[in-house]
């Protein structure tokens, strides 16, 4: 019995939550707690206990978001987008310096990261926009202007912060939504061509540390103690882990601090050092199952809004996993993307769980037909 009525209650929506997905998310988070316990040198302090607390907070938020009326979500989609955009501009103007980049906006008791808010808001805004268009409209060039502006205005602001990881995420999510909704294929081919041509020009706009990261990615052995250190140490940790790994709490690379950022960006490395290829395949399989489940939600959504919303969320999950894992195994440059649900960090965890709340919401309402304008 699925929800088809707009008039359904909070309780009835709660009863239709997709518990397998909630279970997988919780499983990944628990793996994260164990790894943070290991990263702390066999201690809940300083990371694991903070992460557990934030997970519990995020869990409640996720369930609540999943159970709100999807019409309200769509109604406020542009509002959230506008709010996120204003905050992004504010952070650009008043933002305080954190980690050498302007990313935070401080409200005294809480520090908000508008770029995180933008990740969700962009999906909402694009889903909302395309929900109201017919396929013919979608394939009309003039209707591409708004989505492109929706994608690139925040992307450029985030890039100026500078936060290359989030920028890439925003652009890929936005473009992939445009792809899914049915924008003609030759536009993508043309855009790709333009991208290849403009690469040398874009190079000039990159910060020196970003250039350095790309260069050392291409040849990490060139500077083993400098910028290439991260990649090299990460590969050493992974490789020395072998097939079965060194065992829980026994990762020498991570415990002896050769591995930088082992609790955040390089947590997958630590995991592979301790649990080997077997562990890595198991973890990646959990992600694959989760992504597959989410894609199934997207495909059975009757409304375009629900379809694009859930697709956007699962796509960002995939991009997170793919960039993070490819980065630590040396397939892509180090851009600073966390491993979803596992890496330490409250902001990204909360963003993800709110995003999954929206995804669950779309699942609850997958049979609901949403009018174009409400």
């Amino acid at each position: 019995m699925f929800i088809t009525q707009e008039s359904s209650t909070f309780i009835s929506r709660f009863q239709h939550l997709n518990w397998p997905i909630i279970g997988l998310v919780s499983l990944l988070s628990c793996i994260g707690f164990c790894l943070l316990y290991s990263a702390g040198g066999g201690s809940f302090y300083p990371w694991a206990q903070a992460q557990i607390f934030k997970f519990l907070l995020g869990f409640v938020l996720m369930i609540m978001v999943a159970c709100i009326n999807i019409n309200h979500v769509m109604k406020y989609a542009y509002f959230f987008y506008g709010l996120a955009l204003v905050l992004l501009i504010l952070v650009h103007v008043f933002g305080m310096i954190g980690m050498g980049a302007q990313r935070w906006i401080s409200f005294g008791f809480i520090r908000l990261q508008p770029s995180e808010l933008m990740k969700i808001s962009l999906i909402l805004a694009l889903a909302c926009y395309y929900h109201r268009l017919s396929l013919e409209d979608v394939q009309t060039p003039s209707f591409m202007i708004v989505p492109l502006l929706l994608i690139f205005i925040p992307s450029i602001l985030v890039l100026k912060q500078p936060d290359l990881g989030t920028t890439i995420l925003l652009v890929i999510i936005g473009i992939s939504i445009m792809f899914v909704v049915g924008v003609r294929l030759w536009y993508f081919a043309a855009a790709f061509g333009v991208l290849v041509v403009s690469c040398p020009i874009a190079w000039g706009f990159l910060r020196s540390y970003q250039k350095k990261r790309i260069l050392t990615f291409l040849n990490p052995e060139q500077d083993p103690l400098g910028s290439g250190y991260h990649i090299l140490q990460s590969k050493i940790a992974l490789g020395s882990g072998g097939f079965l790994g060194k065992g829980f709490l026994n990762g020498t690379q991570s415990h002896l601090n050769f591995l930088p950022e082992k609790q955040t960006d390089f947590i997958f490395t630590m995991f592979c050092e301790e649990f080997g290829l077997v562990g890595a395949v198991v973890l990646l399989t959990i992600y694959a199952v989760l992504i597959f489940q989410c894609l199934k939600i997207s495909m059975r959504s009757k409304s375009c809004f629900g379809r694009l919303l859930s697709f956007g969320m699962v796509m960002s999950l995939f991009i997170y996993v793919f960039i993070n894992v490819s980065m630590v195994i040396g397939l892509v440059p180090v851009v600073g993307v966390p491993l979803p649900f596992v890496s330490y960090g409250g902001t990204s965890l909360l963003t993800l769980m709110i995003g999954f709340g929206l995804l669950l919401n779309a699942d609850v309402n997958h049979d609901l037909k949403i009018p174009r304008y409400s």
Binding site: S134, L135, V138, S176, F179, V180, V181, G182, L225, Y229, Q233, K235, I236, A237, L238, G239, S240, G241, G242, F243, T252, Q253, H255, L256, N257, F258, C272, G276, L277, A280, V281, L284, A288, I291, F292, L295, S298, M299, C304, R307, L308, F311, M315, F318, F322, V325, S326, I329, G330, L331
Partner: protein, 606 residues
């Protein structure tokens, strides 16, 4: 037929899922390469990352005196070291070091230089012998000092100080030459013996350095020990030296006001050295942590040459002491003991006049009296009669032309000219005057104090060869070579040497032992270090204080005790202290009295 929006969406989502699946496969393939195919390479890189080999410096053997009293003292200490391999930013560490330890700029410069010149894995010493305050300061700030660690080590102290400096030598960090000879030295940071017995018995004393393999973290801090090969401590070295006597001799020289000199006290039968000293000494403790250049320059420029061991490397004219050799040569050559010669105070040879030390002359003396009274004229006469050959031959037999073989580094040989040498080097013929000057141990005769001691030992022990040593030898292996000198000659000269001290009229009668229980014999020497001109002689003898220190006569003494069963011999030089009988003989007497008392009271060990 136009597709529905829903169908397009589903189709495209399926394309993307397919692409995602490919990416997952790609990632797993990459992980397979890293973790299975290349795992050995990365495993060894991982071990290189975290495993370090550290050396454990062995504890150096102690040096003991003949009674087992410590002449060196090892104490545990702590040093701060830096290992460049463990640091990414050396400048940062050094900057913090300077702040935390308050090191002066030139110290930081020295550390930087050392880091540059050594391999990255070898430690450079920041500061040795840390105080508790410094130690805790470093420990507290260890997070700000990546690459810096504390090492437990030993510090070596020499309780005898200056008195033992020339016997024991000192240890210090190896210099570039030492390192070239033994590459392992640079790794361990060990100290090595640089002079004296520390250098001579380096191998025995040093022991074998240990090794430990430790696991370090990314900041070079030791996390745990993986493997430990213990170091083997060096062997202790028991000397024949008597600590009390060594100190006593140094004090006696000082009490006598000798600025520069040397003494060797030896067992006449075994060659065991009971005391060896060179004045002035130096403080061997100065070198352990590297002497500062100011102190080093001061030592080098000191006119009394504290860094030279004069007992083995000081060359002195033996002067009248050489008369022992001449007398033995004459008696062996068959010269009658009681053949008299008249000494008017000088000896005329053609136009040249050779003087006796006693201006008014000794009157009629025979060989025996000539030794007792040290009559120069009689020996001029003797030399002229027997010629230079038997004299030089006798000196050779007593080892005066060779090194004695004492177990100290940098011993020099004496010098004795012969006609062949003079012709070859000076391109001159050998004149009778040369023979005459040789007979009183001047001119072309140079000996070291240890040579004189050995000569004396062989003289009083019945003509058996003696090699001076600091290490007790097994008496079983004591096969003494005989110098085959006529016993009659030896006993006669020995008796005369006893009378030099004990008969009224003997040159050292004033230094005789007043307690009848103890006796000694000996011979003084007064060596001119310049030629006395006729003019000066006319003006009469100048007082010593009127002559610059370095031109004053050297005072020498060789002695033995007791007279009737000689066991101990001494040779000593007091540089530029004037007449031998005034300074050297009393000094020798005091020392020979002390050694007899020490041995008799059982305070020393046989």
């Amino acid at each position: 037929m136009r597709k529905h929006k829903y169908q397009v969406n589903i189709q495209r989502i399926l394309w993307i899922s397919f692409a995602q699946a490919i990416f997952f496969v790609l990632i797993i393939a990459r992980l397979f390469i890293l973790q299975v195919v290349q795992t050995d390479k990365y495993a060894s890189l991982s071990d290189d990352n975290r495993i370090r080999t550290r050396f454990i410096v062995s504890q150096r053997g102690e040096i003991l005196d003949r009674c087992g009293r410590l002449l060196t003292k090892n104490s545990q200490n702590y040093s701060a070291i830096i290992i460049p391999e463990d640091i990414k930013n050396i400048g940062y560490t050094l900057q913090n070091l300077q702040k935390i330890m308050g090191l002066p700029d030139d110290e930081i410069g020295r550390i930087k230089k050392s880091i540059r010149h050594k391999p990255r894995f070898s430690p450079t010493i920041i500061k040795e012998d840390l105080t508790w305050d410094e130690l805790s300061n470093i420990e507290v700030h260890s997070l700000d000092l990546p690459g810096v660690s504390i090492e437990e080590g030993f510090r070596r102290h020499y309780p005898l100080g200056k008195a033992g400096a020339h016997v024991l030598g000192y240890v210090a960090s190896p210099n570039e030459v030492d390192v070239q000879n033994n590459k392992a030295l640079i790794l361990s940071g060990a100290k090595i013996g640089k002079s004296g017995l520390e250098a001579r018995y380096e191998e025995e004393l040093r022991g074998v350095d240990g090794q430990k393999m430790v696991e370090v973290d990314a900041y070079g801090r030791v996390v745990r020990e993986l493997k430990h090969t213990a170091s083997a401590p060096g062997k202790d070295l028991t000397l024949t030296v008597d600590k009390d006597l060594q100190v006593y001799v140094a004090q006696a020289f000082e009490a006598q006001g000798v600025e520069s000199g040397a003494a060797v006290v030896m067992d006449a039968h075994t060659g065991e050295i009971l005391s060896l000293i060179s004045i002035p000494g130096f403080n061997p403790d100065l070198f352990y942590y590297g002497i500062d250049s100011k102190s080093w320059q001061a030592l080098l420029k000191d006119p009394y040459k504290p860094m030279t061991n004069k007992a083995i490397a000081g060359q002195y004219s033996p002067a009248s002491i050489f008369k022992i050799i001449v007398a033995l040569a004459a008696l062996e050559a068959g010269h009658p003991l009681y053949e008299s010669h008249f000494c008017p105070g000088h000896y005329q040879l053609g136009k040249h006049r050779f003087h006796c030390w006693k201006k008014e002359g000794h009157g009629s003396v025979d060989l025996y009296q000539a030794i007792v009274k040290s009559c120069d004229v009689y020996f001029y006469h003797l030399a002229r009669k027997i010629g230079e050959k038997p004299i030089i031959e006798m000196a050779r037999r007593f080892g005066l032309t060779n090194v004695t073989g004492i177990d100290l580094p940098s011993e020099v040989t004496g010098f004795l000219a012969d006609p062949e040498w003079k012709k070859r080097v000076r391109k001159e013929s050998w004149y009778l005057g040369d023979t005459i000057l040789t007979a009183i141990g001047q001119a072309y005769v140079l000996t070291t104090p240890v040579q004189m001691a050995v000569m004396m030992a062989q003289m009083v022990n019945g003509g058996k060869k003696v090699i001076p040593t600091f290490i007790k030898k097994d008496s079983a292996s004591d096969q003494k070579t005989c110098l085959s000198i006529k016993e009659y000659a030896l006993t006669t000269v020995l008796k005369a040497l006893g009378d030099v001290v004990n008969a009224p009229g003997g040159t050292s009668y004033a230094s005789r032992m007043l307690e009848t229980k103890y006796t000694m014999g000996g011979k003084t020497g007064t060596a001119q270090v310049r030629r006395i001109s006729m003019k000066e002689r006319g003006q009469g003898t100048r007082k010593d204080k009127d002559i610059p220190w370095h031109l004053r006569d050297n005072a020498l003494f060789v002695g033995f005790a007791p007279v009737h069963a000689p066991r101990y011999v001494i040779a000593l030089v007091a540089e530029h202290k004037g007449f031998g009988g005034m300074v050297a003989a009393p000094l020798g007497g005091k020392i020979l009295l002390k050694i007899q008392k020490l041995m008799e009271e059982g305070q020393s060990c046989s």
